[in-house]
């Protein structure tokens, strides 16, 4: 007789301890598998993974920027997820924001002064991302359509739209790409601060993280969306307008995705392509879930995923391993982390038959 029972709340220290222990355990398991499958010394492999992210100051900065960009999309999805609105359209909303930014840079790059241009880009990309999320939100609020499918489909629309404009703005003609936008004038490029071209994005996303944390936990709107997520009828009972909250929250969610799109186009890539979001809209879903929709913990989960990604790439090149091997290690670690959540929430009780009978 095995049955699963819900635990009483576990003290924070204990649950943190378990989590740290589990990650250590996951590393050991990964090590054993590495040694077994590749015959390499796992310690060396871990060292190489570490090198992949922290091998040089430049690598560290690139890692930080990538963490920031992934975190930005994850933060965007979080208000929707807390409302139990499964926004899987991060990819499309980022693309919409990126497209708006690129449009401003290309069409207005010569006519507006730098600061004004960046402001226009900001407004345009926020609006584009917000629009892309508000459409499915509206249909959810009014017709109760399935948001998962709807937001997912919007991704394809956005991708095709970007593909179309890439051809319209092709440069040079026939290349099938836009190339670096405003390479000579650098119009619409986000400014480099402190002599470090990665720093601005990191700072902006750090501020956003703090802002989102406060919004979700301490603002009236954040409270409202939590109530709507947990129980729509309770929300109606206290006079919260559920459809309004759904649309409003998704406008915020989409706008932050649009912001991420602007950071990508204006801040790091300086170009536009259909692959500019690079799956962040989906990876962010995992980041948000791993952190249980807590922005502070999301810093850690997005860091973990990016770190593993770069590490995987590094061991692939250093040892000539198939790149999938790194993914296997990432998978094992995630498996352990997600598995822990089950054991923290529930406990498994093994009962002998006689005991079971006497307990009834």
């Amino acid at each position: 007789m095995i049955h699963v029972a819900k635990r009483k709340e576990m003290p924070l220290a204990q649950s943190l301890g378990i989590r740290v222990g589990v990650i250590a355990l996951a590393l050991v398991v990964c090590g054993v598998i590495t040694a077994f499958v590749t015959g390499l010394n796992p310690i060396d492999v871990y060292g190489t993974m570490f090198q992949g992210s922290f091998g040089s100051p430049r690598k560290v900065w690139i890692l930080l920027q990538e963490v920031a960009l992934l975190l930005c999309v994850s933060l965007a999805l979080t208000p929707a997820f807390r409302m139990k609105f499964w926004n899987l359209g991060g990819e499309g909303q980022v693309l919409a924001g990126g497209l708006a930014s690129a449009a401003c840079m290309i069409l207005l790059g010569d006519s507006l002064p730098g600061a004004v241009l960046i402001l226009v880009m900001l407004v345009a990309s926020l609006a584009a991302g917000a629009l892309w999320a508000a459409i499915p939100a509206f249909f959810k609020a009014v017709f109760n359509t399935n948001e998962t499918l709807f937001t997912l489909m919007m991704n394809y629309v956005a991708t095709q739209l970007v593909a179309y404009f890439v051809i319209v703005w092709e440069n040079p003609k026939g290349s099938g790409t836009i190339g670096v936008i405003n390479q000579s004038s650098e119009a619409g490029w986000l400014p480099v601060i402190g002599g470090n071209k990665y720093l601005l994005i990191v700072i902006l996303v750090a501020l956003l993280t703090a802002g989102m944390y406060v919004y979700l936990n301490y603002s009236k709107q954040g409270y409202e969306l939590s109530v709507v997520g947990e129980s729509p009828s309770t929300a109606r009972y206290v006079g919260i307008k559920v459809d309004k909250v759904i649309v409003r929250t998704l406008i915020i969610s989409g706008a932050v995705c649009g912001f991420a799109g602007m950071l990508l186009v204006g801040g790091s890539a300086h170009t536009l392509s259909t692959s500019i979001a690079a799956g962040r809209g989906f990876t962010a879903v995992m980041v948000a879930w791993l952190a249980k929709f807590n922005p502070a913990i999301m810093v850690g989960s997005s860091f973990l995923l990016e770190f593993m990604g770069y590490g995987a790439g590094e061991i692939a090149t250093t040892y000539g391993l198939n790149a999938s091997f790194g993914d296997i290690l990432t998978g094992i670690i995630l498996f352990f982390i997600i598995g822990t959540e089950f054991f923290i929430t529930y406990r498994v009780v093994f009962q002998k038959k006689e005991e079971a009978a006497s307990n009834v």
């Binding site: 603002s219 009236k220 947990e230």
Partner: protein, 513 residues
């Protein structure tokens, strides 16, 4: 047709869920070829008892005999092998499948998925009994009554000889009910046995041959329907009046004024079923107005209409501010009602589903009503925390602390949190639905006491209850609903359980003509 041997005998059946005794030593016989009505109030254990025949539950003690032989029914599959099929209140159909697909779904017999053959057999069954159903129609296209028909055909298709229907008319219009009853009579002619669970006396009279009455999980008695009077059945159903010694202070007549005036209120569901029909009454300050009625008679809709949560078809709900100011509440949502300065507190029936958020802690739940307060866009948790501590303290809520999730509390404590919050708003009108359901005796008396204190403060209290003994001892006046209509308004001090019971089951409460 009718042999001396009953088709099914249940002997000394008991079943409990935790501390709640749902059935205690119930014995009853079901004869072949009869329509048996199982009558009882809500929570009298009718459905539980029948679920033990259909294999959903297993009795704690007692035994079941079929055609005189003891049997063990451990699963719905076992029940089917004995020819017993039950049609539950909540249909279990796959929406995107057709009637036929739903009916053959899960059948293990060879050729079970030959849809053409199955359709033919279904059409045959429909013809025999007079069902009106298109085998190729998708379930999502069906009305509630058609879905029910599919459920019944499903059971017949599997060869059931004994059909149990759990409150089949609760979701039907009167015309559909007539149609269903005609079908049931056809089935009886064909030698099938039908058990119908109900709390509607007119239906018992209409359809059944024999009636067995349950009360509080116990067998009370049985009658031959043709020889039974409505009054007799009501008495068996509601039982003798018991004294609970609930305090009932006299209302302060000096300040008494009309507070809520409901006139000609009509409410329909989205499917067009009438839930409230031309309801008119007034609630006064400093009194407790009880609402009695069989569950589903429109109590929920009435409270929600007053609270601004229920779209209204017709009629008016007025709130009297003072002698010369009257506000119309229809068309208002809770925020607009509060914006007019009307402090209307509402303790809904579904505590965790509607009144509270289970996954939030006590403090955040206290905040539900007040989180909009304050000029900043940020919430202030100091006041709600203070309130939570006060409620925990005053109402003796058992909780590890105010930062515990509400769903971790027991039912009684959850209710105290909800009532505490609603009363803390210092309401002028307090609506409460089944405020003591699931509560132990001490917690119940605490709630009565709280309601009485509100009454003493001049609040117009509307108390929807199910226990007639409580209603009779707590309320100053009792409005009795019957099928969405006002069956009458009686004085709580002079009326009897009998009178209210009759009014609940028949408009006006008189004997059938």
């Amino acid at each position: 047709m009718q042999g001396t041997q009953p088709a099914i005998s249940m002997r000394d059946i008991s079943k409990s869920f935790g501390r709640i005794q749902a059935n205690s030593r119930v014995s009853l016989d079901i004869n072949r070829g009869e329509i048996l009505a199982l009558l009882g109030e809500n929570g009298s254990g009718k459905t539980t008892l029948m679920n033990m025949l259909s294999g959903i539950y297993f009795p704690d003690s007692g035994h079941i005999e079929i055609d005189g032989k003891p049997v063990t029914i451990g699963s719905p599959k076992d029940a089917f092998t004995y020819g017993i099929g039950m049609i539950h209140q909540h249909f279990k159909l796959v929406n995107v499948f057709t009637a036929t697909e739903n009916i053959v779904l899960g059948l293990k017999e060879p050729g079970g998925y030959d849809l053409a053959a199955a359709t033919k057999r279904i059409e045959q069954i429909c013809q025999t009994y007079g069902f009106d159903v298109d085998p190729n129609q998708k379930v999502y296209d069906m009305s509630v009554s058609q879905k029910q028909t599919v459920e019944i055909v499903k059971v017949l298709y599997r060869g059931a000889e004994i059909l149990i229907l759990d409150e089949p008319t609760a979701v039907l219009t009167p015309q559909e009910t007539d149609k269903l009853f005609a079908v049931l009579r056809n089935m009886r002619e064909d030698g099938k046995t039908v058990v119908i669970i109900t709390h509607k006396l007119n239906e018992v009279k209409d359809i059944s041959d024999r009636v067995v009455v349950l009360r509080k999980g116990e067998y009370v008695g049985e009658l031959i329907t043709a020889e039974a009077s409505t009054e007799e059945m009501t008495n068996m159903m509601v039982g003798r009046q018991v004294t609970l010694n609930i305090d009932r202070p006299d209302p302060e007549m000096k300040y008494r004024m009309e507070r809520i005036r409901v006139r000609n209120l009509t409410v329909k569901t989205r499917d067009g079923v009438t839930k409230l029909d031309d309801v008119s009454f007034s609630a006064y300050t400093g009194e407790i107005l009880g609402i009695a009625g069989i569950s589903g008679s429109g109590q929920k809709e009435l409270l929600e209409a007053i609270a601004g949560l229920q779209p209204v078809e017709n009629g008016s709900i007025e709130y009297q501010v003072d002698d010369d100011q009257v506000e119309q509440l229809i068309g208002m949502d809770p925020i607009k009602i509060a914006g007019m300065g009307v402090v209307l507190s509402f303790v809904p029936e579904d505590r965790l589903g509607m009144g509270l958020v289970g996954s939030m802690d006590l403090t955040d739940n206290m905040m539900l009503r007040s989180f909009r307060n304050g000029p900043t866009p940020f919430t202030d948790r100091k006041e709600p925390k203070h309130l939570a501590e006060l409620v925990v303290d005053e109402l003796k809520v058992e909780t590890p602390g105010v930062d515990t999730e509400v769903r971790r509390l027991s039912g009684g404590n959850v209710q105290k949190v909800l009532v505490g919050r609603e009363i803390a708003a210092a309401p002028t009108v307090l609506l409460s639905a089944y405020a003591v359901r699931g509560l132990d005796v001490n917690s119940s008396y605490m709630i009565y006491d709280l309601l009485n204190r509100q009454k003493g403060n001049g609040v117009a209290v509307i108390y929807v209850g199910e226990d007639l003994d409580v209603l009779l001892e707590l309320c100053d006046r009792i409005l009795v609903l019957c099928g969405g209509k006002v069956s009458g308004i009686v004085d709580g001090r002079t009326t009897t359980k009998n009178e209210v019971g009759l009014m609940m089951t028949r408009l006006g409460g008189g004997e059938a003509q």
